[in-house]
Structures are given as structure tokens and as C-alpha cells.
């Protein structure tokens, strides 16, 4: 008589019930330790530092001088304006200079006081940028039929060439230091 050994069937599976918990833990770790925020902001290029500054005379009609004082009042070419009017004010002047050669384009000069609030300065800079962007968009739609950001790189370069963003940052009066 053959001895039939009774094998007890063992459960040889890896328990996967807790796998979800583990994965959630990992996920939480990544959620906490990472940042998603994209860097957004107003880009500028500063001029090079030179010891002795040579002043170059710029014809009055090429310049848009914006002055922001410590109380947050804005002067555009000597006339007081509100921050939100800066955009429309500049837009016309940029448009009128589109077809002029590159050495006759508008220069926007921003001058602040040492005590001027940074937020107001950003608001003004924002207005200037907005006016340039809107003019570029208008020009693109008129000539190429789509917004500036949807154009091909070559066309973007042409538009950039036509409407360059020239912002000059004047140093604040050192008297107020």
C-alpha cells in the first residue's frame, strides 16, 4: 500500500493589500517635497556697468520719460497720470514709430525715487510691457493673421525688429540716500 502523504497546500502569494498604502506614502512624500510653481515675472536686461557714464542726448520725441515719486504719483513726460493710463499713453507712441528705422524707436525711461514702493514700480513696468505686447499682437494680427506668440520664429524676429522693447532704467537720485 502506497503511503499517500497529504500535502498541505501553502499560500505562496505575496500579500499586495498594503501596496496601495505604500504607494500613497511615496506619493505624499513627493507632494510635500517638491515645488510645481513655474517662474513667472517681468524680464529685463540691465545695461553694463561703466565707471564714467557718457550722456547721450536723445531727441525729446524719442523719449517717454516716466517718473514715479515716493507717494506713488506717476509723471509721463511731465504730465501727471494714473498708473493705468500709462499703457494707452504709450501705445499710440509706439504705434507711430513702427515704420521708423531702429535708431528712432521709442525709448521708455523709468525713473524712481529711493523711497518709491516696489509694487508701484512693478505696476508701471507691467503697464509698459503690456503696451508693447499689445502693439506687437496688433501688428502681428494685421500682417500675419495670428497673435505674436503663435507666429513662427522668423516672423517673431521680424516683429521684434519692428517693435523692439527698449526700457531704460534711470538711477534714482542719490540725494535721497
Amino acid at each position: 500500500m502506497a503511503l499517500l502523504k497529504k500535502k498541505n497546500v501553502r499560500n505562496v502569494e505575496i500579500p499586495t493589500a498594503s501596496q496601495a498604502d505604500l504607494a500613497f506614502l511615496l506619493l505624499l512624500f513627493f507632494l510635500v517635497s517638491t515645488i510645481i510653481d513655474v517662474d513667472t515675472g517681468i524680464g529685463l536686461t540691465l545695461p553694463e556697468y561703466v565707471e564714467d557714464i557718457q550722456t547721450v542726448e536723445v531727441p525729446k520725441d524719442r523719449m517717454a520719460a516716466i517718473l514715479v515719486n515716493e507717494n506713488g504719483d506717476v509723471l509721463v513726460d511731465g504730465t501727471p497720470t494714473s498708473v493705468f493710463q500709462v499703457k494707452d499713453n504709450l501705445k499710440q507712441r509706439i504705434v507711430s514709430k513702427i515704420d521708423l528705422p531702429s535708431n528712432k524707436k521709442l525709448i521708455v525711461s523709468v525713473k524712481t525715487d529711493r523711497k518709491t514702493n516696489y509694487n508701484i514700480y512693478i505696476q508701471v513696468l507691467d503697464q509698459i510691457k503690456q503696451s508693447y505686447f499689445e502693439v506687437r499682437d496688433d501688428y502681428s494680427t494685421a500682417n500675419y493673421g495670428s497673435k505674436f506668440k503663435d507666429l513662427s520664429t522668423e516672423n517673431q524676429d521680424i516683429v521684434k525688429d519692428k517693435i523692439p522693447i527698449i526700457i531704460s532704467l534711470a538711477e534714482p537720485e542719490s540725494v535721497k540716500k
Partner: protein
């Protein structure tokens, strides 16, 4: 006589076997789209709001300068003096020639400190800057 509604004996459980897979997919998504936090912030600041803002496409080129409410300046992991900004940024520019300096300045700051930092940056030849701002809706 009592009526008994006859119900089919259906299992009333939500199958959870695929849950780990879904969670792992989420995890993968987060690992791919995010970058690890690199610095601890030592200053408090609130960014100004603006409309005409651009994204910085290349995050590896960015180097940050924080200015807090109290006017303290932070670069990397430490608070620095204004006079030290130039040498630190010069070193950064040596290792990363086309560095973009992102200025994260509290909106209550004065222009004085902003200009001072800009002057230091000009001396250090870090000419590409970006005033960090959040989008205004």
C-alpha cells in the same frame, strides 16, 4: 405572508486590485513634472502682481535672490550683506555664463534696495534679470 424581495447575490465591493497602479501613475506624474525643493527660505515675502508676465523656460539657468519684508537679502541658503552680493553673483556667472537672476522681492520694499541690488548685479555682469511676479487675474 411576508414578501421577500429576491436579490441576486452580487458582490458589493469596489475592486481595489488596480489601486496601486493608479497611485503609482500619479506618483510618476509628480516625479516627472516637479523639481525638488532646493533651498529653505529664511525671509518672508509677498510677490507683486502683474499682467504682462513671461515664463522662464529654462529653470536650470535661474538663480534667485530673495528680499524679505524686513529688507534682508537671501542668496542660496543664507542671508547675505549687500556688499557680498557682487562676489557671490560673479562666482555664479562664472559657472553659469547666461544666468538669469530672478529677483523675488517683497512688494512692500523700497526701490532703494532694489536699485542697490541691481547696481551690484551690473558690476557682477549678471545682466539678465527677472522681477518675479504672480499673475493678476
Amino acid at each position: 405572508m411576508e414578501f421577500k424581495t429576491k436579490r441576486a447575490a452580487v458582490k458589493q465591493e469596489i475592486p481595489t486590485t488596480s489601486m496601486p497602479d493608479i497611485v503609482f501613475m500619479l506618483l510618476m506624474f509628480f516625479m516627472v513634472v516637479t523639481t525638488l525643493r532646493e533651498v529653505d527660505l529664511l525671509v518672508q515675502f509677498k510677490l507683486p502682481e502683474a499682467k504682462a508676465i513671461e515664463k522662464i523656460e529654462n529653470k536650470r539657468l535661474v538663480s534667485y535672490i530673495w528680499v524679505g519684508k524686513d529688507g534682508r537679502i537671501q542668496i542660496n541658503d543664507s542671508i547675505v550683506k549687500l556688499s557680498e552680493v557682487q562676489s557671490i553673483m560673479y562666482d555664479k556667472r562664472q559657472s553659469l555664463p547666461n544666468v538669469i537672476v530672478s529677483l523675488r522681492i517683497d512688494k512692500g520694499s523700497d526701490m532703494g534696495i532694489v536699485t542697490d541690488i541691481q547696481q551690484e548685479l551690473r558690476k557682477a555682469y549678471c545682466l539678465r534679470i527677472n522681477y518675479s511676479a504672480t499673475i493678476k487675474i
